[in-house]
């Protein structure tokens, strides 16, 4: 998986490309484990994520909880239908902010 990050004011924008599965989830976890000071919003661009497994969901949930605890937000943008389907069947659509 390819990860590119850009800081835009108080928003950390992270673009992902590839698959978010058992192999790549630890990489994403590492990449977003340390949120820069002053960042109140994290946006993950999923436009080029082909699919997500439960390993990826674990990282999203832990990041979401971490942001909530700090009063911030996590937003998933541009999720493809296959990813949205997984969010729907696992109830993540009701937890995560999707845009």
């Amino acid at each position: 998986m390819t990860v590119s990050k850009k800081l835009d004011g108080a928003t950390l924008k992270v673009s992902l490309e590839g698959r978010l599965d058992t192999l790549s989830a630890p990489q994403l976890e590492t990449e977003i484990s340390e949120i820069p000071p002053g960042v109140t919003a994290v946006e993950l661009d999923f436009a080029n994520i082909a699919y997500i497994s439960s390993a990826g969901l674990r990282v999203l949930l832990s990041t979401h909880k971490k942001m909530l605890m700090g009063g911030g937000t996590l937003t998933i943008t541009n999720a493809v239908p296959a990813v949205r389907e997984v969010f729907d069947i696992t109830g993540f659509s009701g937890i995560l902010t999707l845009a």
Partner: protein, 154 residues
């Protein structure tokens, strides 16, 4: 395997040909990249629709990662069967680990809020929801988990 739902045409005396691809590897973490590449390449070569391919890849990730982490198996076999004409796709996972029927466990509560949710436990639920049919059997000293999906239902 006689209790499985036949792939469309399978019983019709070869009216539609079932194609099979298979790979057996040691059930260790280092085998995962090769298995993912194997399945991805076979699905592309078979012109599997992206929507179906995504479902199969997710289920593959869930099952293989579980077998590698928890089963104690020495090897795992991943078998892909499909009928191009009817759009039926089947994955079978065979391992010699401890008896493990993933279908007997209760599903996690997907209505819990973020604060209440445990991290993890969703993999098997996803497999059950993404596939049309999922079956487990213990065959001698082997776990055999088979799942089927039809392109028409995706």
């Amino acid at each position: 395997m006689s209790e499985l739902i036949p792939i469309a045409g399978e019983a019709a005396e070869g009216a539609e040909q079932v194609e099979t691809r298979e790979k057996t590897v040691p059930a260790v973490p280092d085998s995962m990249p090769g298995l993912v590449a194997f399945l991805e390449e076979e699905l592309v070569a078979a012109d599997c629709p992206q929507t179906v391919s995504a479902r199969l890849m997710v289920c593959h990730d869930e099952i293989v990662s579980n077998v590698i982490k928890f089963s104690g198996a020495k090897n795992i076999t991943v078998r892909l069967e499909f009928v191009r004409a009817s759009g039926m796709w089947r994955l079978t996972f065979i391992d010699s680990g401890f008896p493990w029927n993933p279908l007997v466990h209760a599903d996690p509560d997907t209505t819990l809020s973020a604060e209440e949710r445990p991290i993890g436990g969703l993999g098997i639920l996803m497999v059950k929801k993404l596939m049309d049919d999922v079956r487990y059997m213990r065959d001698g000293d082997k776990n055999v988990l088979t799942m089927t999906v039809t392109a028409r239902t995706v």
